[in-house]
């Protein structure tokens, strides 16, 4: 057994034991109703709300994908990730407090409640729950696949990774619903940022020990064009990356539902502040890792890496085994904290829209079924479904105008027909693009210089805005 494998198994055992203890301890918060199970009874402290928001948002894409993107495509990767960050802060400041207040006044639990309650159309909630399912099961499966690959690379078997993650996700969700998910999210979020800091510190020392000064590193990166906009980042491609993510806070149910949860306005304020500090630090650290790895490749210290997802493992092969093992567990944490939140939110939407009578038992059963479905897809890895995960943010994009109008318009019920048309039209454009071009190509495809996501947004916004203009004050 290698030192890396031994450390990984030891740290994973520690992570599982500590996380399960945290999840079990959270049971004392009490889960007596479906609202407690799905939203913690809207009683989250600022710390817990911020950590669960951050850990849910930042998936394994950060430690694997964004490091690889920065390595291969340069500083533009920081730009697209920070566009998400700026826009999210804007939404959290402008519409977040309205959603938080209305959720308390109207008793919203499911993320679909924003739409069904505001527009008064039951079919809208049903259709939205279906969209969540189609868009987010592939996305969750992609997280399982990432963990499966980590286990496979360490010689523990792909299926082992999928099983461990599925088991933990289910256990940490059914123990106390949102309370155990939020508490373990906080634990995992702290693990993720700590290992990212430790990795950057180690890398700084490693660069110096390799005889590279900071100024030489800068010269190398400039020479390779990685500190400017590389050929990859054509304006339409940059927009294709930023546009779907800029509305993430209102389109993705796992984060939209988190806006219901802070216990008071002070907790809401703290959630935004600490999420902001966390998100900015994490993004900067992760892109620094990728850029530094690119410089190390240029001087021959690291081998050339063709697959962007292989950059972090290549870097970790040079790191001390204990640190590398902690980072791999951090990747598991990032995936797990995203998946259990998605499963809980989609379960919330499905039970609200499909069940005649909701119960905690039904909620746990739905969570188990959704976790099993994501695991099965991850295990079978059907090409098209896995590819669809790339497009999840675009498939959810038609919900952006719907949610924004629902919370900002004084009487959204007069727009009920337009609301349905908006969702149907937006999804039609998104699915037609995916069907004709394939999900990967559709993501970066542009027409008249506007990416597919832009057209999806136009198609879903036009019916609503037209109806608003026609029925002004109606």
């Amino acid at each position: 057994m290698t030192a890396l494998l031994a450390y990984f198994l030891g740290l994973l055992a520690l992570f599982m034991a500590a996380g399960t203890a945290v999840a079990a301890a959270s049971r004392r918060m009490g889960v007596r109703s479906v609202s407690d199970f799905y939203t913690g009874g809207r009683r989250l402290s600022g710390f817990l709300a911020s950590m669960t928001y951050a850990a849910t948002t930042y998936s394994s894409f950060m430690m694997i994908g964004l490091v690889g993107y920065s390595y291969a495509r340069g500083v533009g990767s920081l730009g697209f990730e920070l566009a998400y960050f700026v826009a999210t802060l804007g939404l959290l400041a402008l519409v977040g407090p309205i959603i938080w207040r209305k959720a308390r006044e109207r008793g919203w639990v499911s993320p679909t409640d924003v739409l069904t309650d505001s527009y008064g159309v039951k079919a809208l909630g049903l259709l939205t729950a279906f969209v969540y399912l189609v868009a987010l099961v592939p996305y969750s499966s992609a997280q399982f696949i990432g963990v499966g690959k980590v286990f496979e690379s360490l010689g523990l078997g792909y299926a082992g990774g999928v099983l461990v993650m599925g088991g933990l996700s289910l256990l940490w969700t059914v123990l106390a619903g949102l309370w155990s998910v939020a508490a373990t999210d906080a634990f995992q979020g702290l693990w993720m940022i700590t290992v990212a800091c430790a990795l950057v510190c180690w890398l700084a020392g490693y660069v110096l020990s390799a005889g590279l000064s900071p100024s030489e590193l800068t010269v190398i990166l400039e020479h390779r064009g990685l500190l400017g906009l590389t050929e990859f980042w054509k304006p339409s491609v940059f927009l294709a990356f930023t546009l779907p993510w800029m509305f993430f806070a209102v389109t993705n149910p796992q984060v939209l539902q988190r806006l219901y949860m802070p216990r008071d306005s002070k907790a809401y304020y703290r959630m935004v502040v600490w999420f902001g500090v966390y998100g900015l630090s994490f993004t900067v650290l992760v892109t620094l890792l990728g850029l530094t790895a690119a410089a190390l490749t240029a001087v021959g210290v690291l081998p050339q890496v063709r697959d962007v997802d292989a950059v972090t493992p290549t870097l970790l092969a040079k790191a001390p085994p204990l640190l590398a093992a902690a980072v791999y567990v951090g990747v598991v944490a990032a995936s797990l904290s995203t998946v259990d939140s998605i499963v809980l939110s989609v379960s919330s939407a499905l039970t609200r829209e499909l069940a005649r009578r909701e119960s905690i038992w039904l909620a746990c059963t739905t969570v188990a079924l959704l976790t099993g479905l994501s695991m099965a897809v991850a295990y079978a890895r059907p090409g098209y479904i896995v590819e669809l995960s790339v497009l999840s943010s675009v498939l959810l994009l038609p919900l952006a105008p719907l949610v924004l109008v629902a919370v900002l318009d004084s009487n959204p019920r007069r727009l009920r027909g337009a609301a349905l048309a908006s969702l149907v039209l937006g999804e039609a454009v998104a699915f037609t693009g995916a069907g004709l071009l394939g999900p990967r190509k559709a993501f970066v495809y542009s027409f008249l210089g506007v990416p597919l996501s832009g057209w999806v947004l136009v198609a879903s916004a036009v019916p609503l805005l037209a109806a608003r203009a026609l029925k002004k004050g109606g």
């Binding site: 533009g76 500190l227 900015l280």
Partner: protein, 58 residues
């Protein structure tokens, strides 16, 4: 700061975030583009924190 001012500022920041790197393409040296994006985001975080505190205090 009222919400209209904040919204206008948000649009300006997002336009700068997207357009300035392309307008000044070729003239970014060293870590300047990296610093531009990071500082713009940090400034926006500070603006948001200040605005949100006032709105929630009311």
């Amino acid at each position: 700061m009222n919400k209209t001012t904040y919204t206008v500022l948000l649009v300006i920041v997002l336009v700068l975030h997207h357009a300035l790197p392309y307008i000044l393409r070729g003239s970014w040296t060293g870590w300047s583009l990296y610093a531009f994006w990071a500082c713009l985001s940090a400034t926006w975080l500070a603006v948001t924190v200040l605005a949100l505190r006032r709105w929630l205090e009311r």
